[in-house]
Assembly symmetry: C2
């Protein structure tokens, strides 16, 4: 499987659906889609060619972006599951923001290849989740990282 049928981003409220990385309403962005595959979280995406590092290879900032949004998406999936819900059941998903992001770049990432981010998410305390993420280009792991995400405070945008 290389697509996500029920993505957590489909269940974000409209006000949280404009993210350049994963907002379904941001027509200029990546529109990452993150869902469960068993107990792992997965995002698939083929980046546009403009996201270049050097010609023929994918921009590291793109990989940081997919890791970041995969992390917030994984946290939302995990809390939603804890609350008894799953993507597509019609219940609005909880909104997270990134507290910290770490990326290790292990290999150059060829362009024109499907990118897959795979995450293991765990709750580290109430409303705070950490996701360990591996990123593959085809069969090859090209980066790994982690994201700590917290439920968006009510006063975040105030």
């Amino acid at each position: 499987m290389t697509t996500i049928q029920h993505a957590i981003q489909d269940d974000y409220p409209d006000s949280f659906a404009h993210c350049y990385g994963c907002g379904r309403l941001n027509e200029e962005g990546h529109q990452f889609r993150t869902g469960w595959e068993g107990d792992q979280t997965v995002t698939y995406h083929k980046p546009e060619e403009k996201y270049t590092a050097i010609p023929g290879f994918v921009y590291g900032g793109f990989l940081a972006s997919i890791i970041d949004c995969h992390g917030t998406g994984s946290a939302s999936l995990a809390l939603h599951r804890k609350n008894g819900h799953k993507p597509g059941d019609g219940v609005e998903a909880p909104r997270f923001v990134t507290a910290s992001l770490e990326v290790k770049f292990t290999r150059p990432t060829p362009q024109g290849t499907l990118i897959k981010a795979v995450g293991q998410v765990e709750e580290v305390r109430e409303n705070k989740f950490k996701t360990e993420i591996d990123v593959y280009a085809g069969e090859e792991r090209v980066a790994s990282g982690s994201v700590v995400a917290v439920v968006m405070p009510d006063n975040f945008a105030k």
Copy 2:
């Protein structure tokens, strides 16, 4: 001062000037410009509005990108200086790739504000540099991070 007159990216060879973050030849990218201000390295940039997290606030992946390219640019500046050169003197700058990237997001980043990344770069071993970076939106620090960058291996893209 809020612009960089002599950016290290001006002295990258054409083959390294297509980066979505800092390539002067990537017309769809950010075209970050990084230079010295005394012994600090600085990048200024006002992100386009499409780089949204939630409406009114800058996308975290954009901040990761400016930190990433600021880190490789700072490493190149530092090695270039060590070699007796400075941006604009007509000598090609050394090319770096990111080994690892860390970002802590400390505050929401309002859109429409000039972003400034400030770095302290040090050589950790031959051909390997670490830059500690603070990112400001106007006067307020919104993120901090670090980048470990290494000279691009000759066989990088092989």
